[in-house]
């Protein structure tokens, strides 16, 4: 089937309650209902999911790889933003 008849959709799966939906991949489908079913059939065959989101790929606004330096480079020198400078009491265990 042609790309126009079955556009691309991005699939997000939530594995369990309390987790967030994670990008699983993409599928082609004619409309929202068929996209949901295709996502179910392609990406949840091994019990991966409790919930599915599908989004038209063309509706996703993405950053431009050309802007990589501008967008992300400035944070690399700000190591104090990582929460690694705190002493964690032993009682707290893993954070």
């Amino acid at each position: 089937m042609s790309e126009a008849a079955t556009p691309l959709w991005e699939v997000f799966i939530r594995a369990r309650n309390g987790l967030s939906h994670k990008h699983a991949g993409s599928i082609h489908a004619a409309d929202a209902e068929m996209a949901l079913q295709a996502a179910r059939d392609v990406y949840t065959r091994r019990g991966e999911g409790q919930s599915i989101w599908v989004v038209r790929s063309s509706d996703i606004v993405a950053s431009d790889p050309v802007d990589k330096d501008m967008m992300f480079e400035p944070t690399s020198s700000k190591i104090y933003r990582h929460p690694t400078f705190y002493e964690i009491p032993e009682d707290v265990g893993n954070m």
Binding site: I27, H28, Q37, R40, D41, R45
Partner: protein, 252 residues
């Protein structure tokens, strides 16, 4: 026929339906129109074969002659298979596959729902699992029926042909011969005749949305429950049984 024989034969009929239809759908593996649908069809196939496995295993227990699921599935002759004829009809084009699956799923959804009330605990448990699987089969095929029927001129035309070719195999699903009646009396079986109205309502409502109509059936084909099959079953079995015939008793 003893009650045990009735149950055994009843289980075989039900298991054969799922196995043969599952095998048919499996033929799409690697050949479906898109990767997504390839997986969708083979998922359905695996659901059906899973149901068949449970039913054959239980049938083997009920029979008590030491036959396991493999022997019942793979080492019988053509006339020993008791599936409804619709299960063995060729895949044809995608429209034929979808219509066949839609017809069967619209029947099996209420069938398994009723079977959940069976007096036989094992059958009721198999039904509870199968109900959820078939609910999805019905939803998936219904969506396709609507899109193909109300799609392009060509997809509509192919759906009309598929409906005309397959409607004559739907009557057999609702037949109650002596065995079914004995099974209903024993309390473990589904009164299939009582499901016909619901089936018709489901089919009609989806076909209406698809701008299609269920054709008049005229003469309904029948015979599968007695082991009288269309010419297609032998070809299915030659492929299905090859490994067990060539290497008897082999396992994975």
């Amino acid at each position: 026929m003893s009650d045990n024989d009735v149950l055994f034969t009843y289980l075989l009929r039900l298991a054969d339906d799922q196995l043969i239809l599952g095998q048919r759908l499996g033929e799409w593996c690697g050949n479906a129109p898109t990767l997504e649908e390839d997986l969708a069809l083979t998922n359905i196939s695996l659901d059906l074969i899973g149901q068949a496995r449970s039913l054959y295993s239980y049938a083997g227990e009920v029979e008590g002659k030491g036959r396991d699921e493999d022997q019942l599935a793979f080492v019988r002759y053509e006339q020993d298979y008791l599936n409804a004829l619709i299960a063995e009809q060729p895949n044809g084009d995608f429209a034929h596959t979808i219509v066949r699956q839609f017809f069967v799923s619209a029947f099996m959804a209420p069938f398994w729902r009723e079977m959940e009330k069976s007096s036989d605990n094992t059958l009721a448990a198999i039904a509870a699992k199968a109900s959820k699987e078939v609910a999805y089969h019905l939803r998936h095929t219904s969506e396709w029926v609507v899109r193909l029927g109300d799609g392009t001129d060509e997809s509509h035309e192919r759906m009309v042909e598929a409906l005309e070719d397959l409607v004559m195999y739907t009557g057999e699903l609702f037949e109650s011969d002596g065995l079914v009646k004995a099974a209903i009396e024993a309390g473990f079986a589904v009164d299939v005749a009582s499901l016909q109205d619901e089936w018709k309502r489901t089919v009609d409502s989806v076909l209406k949305e698809a701008t299609l109509e269920l054709p008049e059936a005229g003469h309904m084909q029948s015979g599968g429950r007695e082991g009288r099959h269309t010419e297609h079953l032998g070809h299915i079995l030659s492929e299905l049984q090859y490994m067990q015939r060539a290497y008897p008793g082999m396992s994975w």
